[in-house]
């Protein structure tokens, strides 16, 4: 499990950033799958897991 803090304007752009990070770096699609959830909090930047 990898936790990320991402600053983004909206949920869609946040998800896009997370998906790209997973595809390009965090997971190797040859051997790994990934799924993620994004949660938002008012006082803190959004957290993706």
């Amino acid at each position: 499990m990898i936790g990320l803090r991402i600053e983004a304007d909206d949920l869609t752009s946040c998800e896009q950033q997370v998906r790209e990070a997973c595809q390009r770096l965090l997971a190797n699609p040859v051997i790994e799958d990934f799924e993620f959830t994004v949660s938002e909090s008012a006082d803190q930047p959004a957290v993706a897991k």
């Binding site: 770096l25 965090l26 190797n28 040859v30 051997i31």
Partner: protein, 236 residues
């Protein structure tokens, strides 16, 4: 002939590659720092073993983003010979310059001992000096050397003769026992479709004199010299 040896933070077989090139075959090694973007006129590029960037995340996962890898990618695209050994093989897979991936050994332990591999194809710049079917004795030293790919990729590799080395017993047969890490179809090394990029888990650079157990690895480096010499002859 100039052999570029990429030094990532955490590379630890770079010295051995230098020694193999310099003392083993009398050619010129040149160290390529990971933060640079130039190959300094290298004719061949070697990605040595070790634990680049501490193998953080996955072996080879971070190295592929280093500046030098841009140059390596361009060099490979132009047909330049690139060899990845051990961690270098892992980096080439992560960089999608080679198909498949390397996962933890079956048995989940690091393993270091001599193995036998069979040369499956001499049609690469790193195996031309061997005989097809020749058995080599080379050391392995890895925790993540189990080669995996989906069945279609494996079939394609077999069909195109892109499996370059296979783990075998001393008699040259593939057996469960002779496969030290559980690699699919006993694969120890593969090449790309253009055949100029080769990766393998065993260490030919550690098999360059009988004094340290074997000199069977010298052929890998000699092959590169021969391949480039004939290429230069053809274009001259």
């Amino acid at each position: 002939m100039r052999f570029g040896i990429v030094r990532f933070p955490g590379s630890n077989c770079d010295f051995d590659c230098e020694r193999a090139v310099r003392d083993g075959i009398g050619q010129e090694p040149v160290v390529l720092w990971h933060k640079e973007e130039s190959l300094l006129g290298a004719d061949v590029v070697l990605l040595p073993g070790g634990f680049s960037y501490g193998d953080h995340l996955r072996a080879g996962a971070i190295a592929r983003f280093s500046p030098i890898m841009k140059a390596v990618r361009a060099f490979a695209a132009e047909g330049g010979p690139v060899l990845g050994i051990c961690n270098g093989f892992q980096i080439l897979c992560e960089a999608h310059l080679l198909p498949g991936a390397l996962i933890r050994n079956r048995g989940l332990r690091f393993r270091c001992h001599p193995v036998h591999v069979r040369v499956e194809s001499t049609a690469t710049p790193f195996t031309g000096e061997y005989d097809a079917g020749q058995i080599l004795r080379l050391p392995i030293a890895h925790g993540e050397g189990q080669y995996v790919a989906d069945e279609n990729t494996l079939d394609e590799l077999e069909r195109d003769g892109r499996v370059i080395f296979r783990y075998v017993n001393p008699a040259g047969e593939t057996t469960e026992e002779a496969n030290p890490n559980g690699s699919a179809r006993s694969i120890a090394g593969v090449c790309n479709a253009e055949r100029n990029v080769v990766g393998l888990m065993p260490h030919p650079e550690r098999a360059i004199s009988a004094m340290i157990g074997s000199e069977d690895g010298l052929g890998v480096f000699r092959s590169a010299v021969a391949a480039l010499t004939s290429l230069q002859g053809a274009t001259a």
